[in-house]
């Protein structure tokens, strides 16, 4: 008798709380975080205007010089006015935005993957591996970065030019449409190779803190491979500082690109990037502040929204806060 009644009541049970995977839960929470959503909209708008608008004709050629009307204020034909060589500032900001966004995202990903990997392995394994990895980080920290840049730019310049000419010959793209991007490859390598040091130390510290906790020993006792433990248990728990640091790296990488471009790697005239436009604007701050303000607006907006989005992501992904 107990059997049937047992089965019968099961069907009529009221629907219990539907199981949510961590990611679905995170998405629900992220969606409800107003600031994160507003930032998403801003980001999409900026990326759209930088990557799509320049295709249309009303955006002028960023390299076209008109000396007689240099440093002029915004007019109907030039919404953001003209820069120190009379070029249309709006189109330079948009074209520059493409390069800066690309640099920001790609190099940050490169430096994050390396940094998190090294940091996690060092923090998790401890002992000799940790010492070896951290001492390598110490060496890389103190290497004279400028020498590497000078050496690298001498070598890299040859390769990128060869690549550009090869592309120009084999595809119908014009030199001006490829050159700004092929020029960035040495930049990705240079920044990526040396900017992961900070994040590796931070991840190591968080991972060391987490590895001490019991559930990691529990996971180890279940015979999970080190790789799985790191990926599934440790890194998600160190997600907080990682996400925050990622959103901090993007602006510094974009500005770093400007410094490198002044040393011969990355963006060469007539192309430009937000970093270069801001630094040019800073030089002319007294005579024409608009040259500083206009490029700074999208730059700061992008980075603000990236940070709010990062924070929203951090809160959403935090396994502990999924309780409430």
């Amino acid at each position: 008798m107990a059997e049937e009644t047992h089965k019968q009541t099961l069907e009529t049970l009221p629907e219990t709380e539907a199981g949510h995977s961590l990611w679905q839960d995170a998405w629900i929470r992220l969606r409800s975080n107003r600031a994160a959503m507003v930032s998403c909209v801003i980001l999409v708008a900026i990326i759209f205007s930088c990557f799509v608008l320049p295709i249309f004709s009303f955006i002028a050629d960023p390299a076209e010089i008109e000396l007689s009307t240099k440093n002029s204020a915004p007019t109907a034909s030039h919404w953001m006015g003209q820069d120190q060589l009379g070029r249309d500032l709006l189109s330079r900001v948009l074209h520059g935005g493409r390069i800066s966004i690309l640099v920001g995202l790609i190099t940050t990903t490169v430096s994050l993957t390396i940094g998190v990997a090294v940091g996690a392995i060092a923090g998790y394994s401890g002992g000799r591996t940790d010492a070896f990895l951290m001492r390598t980080v110490d060496v890389l920290y103190s290497l004279p970065f400028l020498i590497i840049v000078i050496l690298f730019s001498a070598v890299a310049r040859g390769q990128t030019d060869a690549l550009t000419t090869w592309l120009v010959d084999n595809t119908n793209l014009s030199h001006d449409s490829i050159a700004p991007f092929t020029g960035l490859i040495p930049l990705f390598v240079a920044i990526g190779a040396l900017s992961w040091l900070n994040i590796s130390r931070i991840v190591r510290a968080s991972v060391q803190n987490i590895t001490g906790q019991e559930y990691v020993e529990a996971a180890r006792s279940l015979g999970l491979s080190h790789g799985r433990i790191l990926l599934r248990h440790i890194i998600p728990n160190a997600i907080g500082p990682i996400v925050v640091y990622a959103t901090l790296t993007i602006p510094s990488v974009m500005l770093f690109e400007a410094t490198l471009s002044f040393l011969g790697i990355g963006v060469q005239p007539p192309y430009s990037s937000w970093g270069i436009l801001i630094s040019d604007g800073a030089d002319r701050m007294l005579s024409n502040p608009l040259l500083l303000i206009f490029p700074s607006i999208p730059f700061i907006l992008t980075l603000m929204s990236l940070n709010f989005l990062g924070d929203g992501l951090r809160d959403a992904l935090d396994p502990k806060s999924s309780k409430d």
């Binding site: 010089i65 009379g86 000078i150 011969g264 060469q268």
Partner: protein
């Protein structure tokens, strides 16, 4: 444990602390205090590499050195071409401008009280010309008779050519390859052991080095086997052996100093009369003696701290350095400031107004402008061109725009395909609208009509012009219609600024798209010296007020002529002008030479420099000078009440 109160209070302390400090700073600005103490605050761009006037040559160094030392002639406060008394009270020259006599100030003293005599001057010129010292600016004194031979250690000429009773005249001997053949590449052979080289390599090394530069073993090898060296056939074997024997004996004696044997044209009949004989007439010799490479150094101090030929010894350090100028060194903190104070022993001390000068090495000219406007400097080194308009509107009373003896130009590498074609170079030069460039980019500069600006009695020829259609036509004639077929050149520069981008755009209008290649200063210089460049942005500031400082650069093998261009006709004209003692004829010859240079267009001058800088009105005795060499002793600080 740190409690919240502590954290809050620490940031509070910093805030309160800074407010207190701010209040204390409100009183007199640095400049006002300096005016009272009669100390001039000068922005001097870079940190001087050192204060040994014979080993360094930069403009910032010369600003400090002209306060500590004084050449034979002094700078006139307002006129470019007139000389005033310096270390020499008076001077005269023979009719052909080749023999000069300077009479030193009778009671001139070094800043340690010791008298300044011709012994110091002879020692100084001997030291800077001494090949062991390897002074970069020694060539400034090559006008002196046999100075070049001694400086370049031409042993063959000195040991044999100058020896009267040597059996053969020098003009026959001079065909022997004494100084080495630059075209022969011996870099990889240099450091290898001579015996281990094979025959061919030995011959190559000997030809590359030349007899003057060989050690004992190769010389003996040549003595043993004549075929190792390409002797000119009209030199008989015993003459050959005599030459080799003299060179070998010179080495055996430990390569003694050849100064006396070289009979360098400097003689001092008495402690206050200096007689200089030149190899050719030099009308502008007094002006040349104002250059730091002609400054005397105190013999007794130099020798106290090392041999004559020791580089950068302690002698020119703070505490040891002694000078004959209006001021002496008081303080020197690296990258911070150099301070000089009044030198009581200076012969004209009572006419010196200032009590001291403080030089600030501020490399960032935006920082320097801010420092000036914040009342921290009397005079700034240079105003960034971007701030010219702003300065005109807001601070006209401080702004100074003065002509300067220098030219911004573009250098073509004539060995590169396309650029080896005169028409292409001409087209590129014609595509530069110099008026517009000077109006908007090189603000305040004057459009160049030639390489040499107006200097001395020389009026630059009016050759350069802007004509886009003619340029395009030339390209078609040259076989590159609208730039097709030309490789994609790179414009080499050390700084990305509007001038590079404007030039890039001008060439684009001609149909020739170019990239910009940025290199830091080191690689920028070595790339051009190795001919590893297409086009480069360049500039040159004259060392002395005479066209030759601009025209000598383009002779074959000259350190600055990296264009790969040379013209025998051009060099013949220069040599002829050098021998010409009549100033007007000389200038005409130089103008003819410049015309050849500009017609062949290995370079494309753009604009003549103008010095833009901020300067406080209370600084008196500071007048526009082409060489910007304002004599410190005539400067005064008078604040209008």
């Amino acid at each position: 444990m740190v409690s919240v109160t502590v954290l809050k209070s620490s940031s509070a302390i910093i805030l309160i602390g800074s407010i207190l400090l701010l209040a204390s700073c409100k009183q007199k600005s640095m400049v006002e205090r300096a005016n009272e103490d009669k100390i001039m605050l000068v922005g001097n761009s870079a940190e001087p590499k050192g204060l040994d006037s014979q080993l360094i040559s930069g403009v910032p160094e010369s600003k400090v050195l002209t306060s500590l030392f004084e050449g034979l002639c002094g700078d006139h406060p307002s006129e470019d071409n007139t000389m005033v008394e310096g270390a020499a009270k008076s001077w005269e020259h023979n009719e052909s401008l080749t023999e000069w006599t300077f009479h030193l100030q009778p009671d001139a003293k070094w800043s340690d009280g010791k008298p300044v005599t011709t012994e110091d001057f002879i020692f100084s010129y001997h030291r800077i010309l001494n090949p062991q010292l390897a002074a970069a600016y020694a060539p400034m004194l090559h006008a002196i008779k046999n100075a070049k031979a001694y400086n370049e250690d031409q042993r063959g000429f000195i040991l044999c050519g100058l020896d009267e009773n040597f059996p053969v005249e020098w003009d026959k001997l001079s065909e022997i390859n004494f100084q080495g053949d630059p075209k022969v590449d011996i870099d990889d052979l240099k450091n290898r052991d001579f015996e281990k080289l094979n025959l061919e390599e030995k011959r190559k090394l000997i030809a590359g080095r030349g007899l003057d530069r060989l050690d004992k073993t190769p010389l003996e090898a040549i003595a043993a086997d004549e075929s190792l060296f390409a002797w000119p056939d009209k030199i008989s074997t015993d003459i050959r052996n005599l030459v080799l024997e003299r060179l070998i004996s010179h080495i055996d004696q430990g390569e003694p100093d050849l100064y006396d044997k070289a009979q360098v044209g400097i003689v001092a009949p008495d402690p206050h009369t200096l007689h200089i004989s030149l190899r050719e007439p030099v009308p502008y010799l007094p002006a040349m003696t104002r250059h730091t490479s002609w400054f005397p150094v105190p013999k007794h101090v130099v020798l106290k701290h090392g041999k004559m030929t020791d580089r950068f010894t302690e002698w020119s350090e703070l505490g040891n350095i002694v000078g004959n100028g209006p001021f002496k060194l008081k303080a020197w903190r690296f990258n911070h400031y150099i301070e000089v104070e009044r030198n009581p022993h200076y012969w004209d001390a009572e006419n010196v107004e200032l009590n001291g000068i403080r030089f600030f090495p501020i490399l960032n000219f935006y920082t320097e402008s801010r420092a000036f406007l914040a009342g921290q400097l009397h005079t700034a080194y240079s105003l960034p061109p971007e701030l010219l308009e702003w300065a005109k509107e807001n601070h006209p009373e401080y702004l100074r725009v003065e002509p300067y003896v220098g030219t911004r130009y573009i250098r073509f590498n004539t060995r590169r395909p396309g650029l080896d074609n005169l028409k292409v170079r001409k087209a590129l030069s014609l595509a530069l609208d110099r008026e517009e460039l000077c109006k908007y980019i090189f603000e305040g500069y004057k459009p160049a009509t030639a390489l040499t600006p107006k200097v001395g009695n020389y009026t630059p020829p009016d050759i350069l012009e802007y004509d886009l259609d003619k340029a395009k036509a030339l390209l078609v004639e040259a076989g590159y219609p609208n730039g097709e077929g030309l490789p994609r050149y790179k414009i080499l520069t050390t700084k990305i600024n509007p001038s590079v981008e404007a030039v890039q755009a001008a060439f684009k209008e001609l149909g020739i798209g170019m990239d910009v290649e940025l290199k830091t200063f080191g690689p920028y210089v070595s790339a051009q010296q190795a001919g590893d460049y297409d086009i480069s942005m360049a500039g040159w500031i004259g060392d002395y007020p005479d066209p030759t400082t601009f025209l000598d650069m383009w002779t074959r093998g000259n350190g600055n002529n990296n264009t790969g261009w040379s013209s025998t006709e051009y060099e013949a004209l220069l040599r002829e002008a050098a021998q010409q003692s009549d100033p007007d004829k000389r200038v005409a010859l130089l103008a003819k030479a410049e015309k050849i240079l500009l017609d062949d267009a290995p370079i494309a001058p753009i604009a003549w420099y103008t010095r833009l800088y901020l300067h406080r009105p209370e600084v008196k005795g500071w007048h526009p000078l082409l060489l910007d060499n304002h004599p410190w002793k005539h400067i005064t600080l008078e604040v209008e009440k």
